[in-house]
């Protein structure tokens, strides 16, 4: 499946390469304890990462707290970022999502309300013109998620945005664990096929 990675990489523009290079260098300096470099990383990425926090934590104050925690984690863990293993922005987005999910799950109750698989997902049904504004990868992902059965898309989003595990999802949709697992795995296979086609 490594062709999946390589098929995504060439779409990064030359300007994107420059930005990526700068970010990799700044993270290297952060790893050596350079505070100004953390400021550079923040300037370059905070709007994007705040968007990530807001997507998971609609409460603005909580999203702001999660964003702070994310950059403090960057400060402590920058040395763990390995540019040969992945892109800095993916590393940052993943780390930020994890901080936001930690915060979401530290609240009581954790997301456990029933999920109605028949409901429509209003916020994901994007108007055509917003598709134009999205970058290629986002548009492609939206299109591929759109090709899944609606219920599977709902399950995948619940896992992704709320950090719900298989057992939690099974409880929330009131289906047997095995059914939920096989359904999501099937959806993941389809999604991967669509994205790497």
């Amino acid at each position: 499946m490594t062709e999946g990675i390589s098929s995504l990489r060439p779409r990064v523009s030359a300007a994107g390469d420059d930005a990526r290079e700068r970010l990799v260098k700044a993270l290297g300096r952060v790893a050596r304890g350079d505070r100004a470099a953390l400021g550079d990383v923040y300037s370059a990425t905070s709007a994007k990462l705040f968007g990530v926090c807001l997507r998971i934590l609609p409460d603005r104050e909580e999203a702001e707290d999660a964003l702070q925690e994310a950059y403090l984690t960057v400060w402590r863990k920058a040395a763990a970022f390995d540019p040969s293993r992945g892109s800095p922005i993916t590393w940052l987005v993943t780390l930020t999502r994890n901080r936001a999910l930690d915060r979401l799950r530290s609240r009581r109750p954790i997301p456990s309300e029933p999920i109605d698989l028949a409901e429509s997902i209003a916020d994901e049904a994007l108007p055509a013109d917003s598709l134009v504004e999205m970058d290629q990868e986002a548009a492609r992902l939206a299109a591929c998620l759109g090709e899944l059965p609606a219920a599977d898309g709902i399950l995948i989003r619940a896992a992704f945005f709320q950090g719900s595990s298989y057992p939690e999802l099974a409880a929330r949709v009131a289906l047997p664990l095995g059914t939920v697992k096989s359904r999501i795995r099937r959806a993941l296979v389809k999604l991967r096929g669509c994205l790497t086609a």
């Binding site: 499946m1 490594t2 999946g4 990675i5 995504l8 304890g33 350079d34 505070r35 953390l38 400021g39 923040y42 905070s46 709007a47 994007k48 705040f50 968007g51 990530v52 807001l54 997507r55 998971i56 702001e64 964003l67 702070q68 403090l72 400060w75 293993r85 992945g86 892109s87 922005i89 993916t90 987005v93 993943t94 999502r97 999910l101 999205m134 970058d135 990868e137 986002a138 492609r140 992902l141 939206a142 998620l145 995948i156 989003r157 896992a159 992704f160 945005f161 950090g163 719900s164 595990s165 298989y166 057992p167 999802l169 999501i184 795995r185 993941l188 296979v189 999604l191 991967r192 994205l195």
Partner: protein, 233 residues
């Protein structure tokens, strides 16, 4: 389905957060040990990231201020020099001279001195800030005991023969004196009504070392030995 398909699905499940705790630990351990598997996880993260980065929004200024102040309080990295810290405070001092007059109104009362070691635990429920030193080993906790009333508990606060003075620094960057505190026992500090609006979440508490009697100028004149962000109120 081939073995590598199974691996890739497991990678996707890990990236999405579907695994329960034991499964997740074992998958994470594998990602740490197996670069090929780690690459599969990364590929899923790349695939899914656009879901999260669809919209960007510039965060408010105080988010960065909070990060910066927590770096000052918590990091182990080589700190900036004491001279630089002092210079910063001198700049604050100049900027703050305009508010010096109002500082005369501040009332500071001493706590009826509970044993210092007992105070942090008693104050824990209303803890609003932990101050730490950038260059010094100082640790001071601040709690709100009642509205307008702070309990300032030095866990460790070196004095170097000077007296510690507490300041609150709101977003405008100008330190407002909250008065002299004790170095080795908790102090009850009554915040003057004029300064209460400055004591809010996101503002910074700082402690500087001043001559006996406190800063002669109404702004910090000595080095800052501890600082920390107000995290609640």
């Amino acid at each position: 389905m081939t073995a590598s398909d199974d691996d890739d699905l497991l990678a996707g499940e890990l990236a999405l957060g579907l695994l329960d705790a034991p499964e997740r630990s074992s998958a994470e351990a594998r990602a740490d040990a197996d670069p090929d598997f780690a690459a599969l996880v990364e590929a899923w993260q790349v695939r899914l990231a656009p879901l999260l980065t669809r919209s960007s929004e510039t965060p408010p200024e105080h988010v960065w201020e909070g990060i910066r102040s927590q770096l000052a309080a918590n990091d182990d990295a080589p700190p900036s020099s004491a001279e630089a810290a002092l210079r910063r405070w001198r700049m604050f001092a100049v900027a703050a001279s305009a508010v010096a007059a109002s500082l005369a109104l501040i009332l500071v009362t001493r706590a009826p001195a509970p044993p210092p070691q007992a105070a942090p635990a008693a104050a824990a429920p209303a803890l609003v800030a932990t101050l730490q030193g950038e260059e010094s080993p100082a640790i001071v906790t601040i709690s709100v005991s009642e509205p307008g009333q702070l309990l300032v508990t030095p866990v460790r606060l070196p004095t170097n023969g000077r007296v510690p003075e507490l300041w609150v620094i709101p977003e405008d960057g100008k330190p407002r004196s909250l008065g002299i505190i004790q170095a080795s026992a908790p102090s009850a500090v009554r915040v003057a009504p004029a300064h209460r609006p400055h004591v809010h979440r996101g503002a910074t508490f700082a402690i500087s070392q001043e001559p006996r009697g406190g800063s002669p100028t109404g702004a910090p004149t000595g080095p800052v030995v501890a600082s920390g962000k107000i995290t609640r109120v």
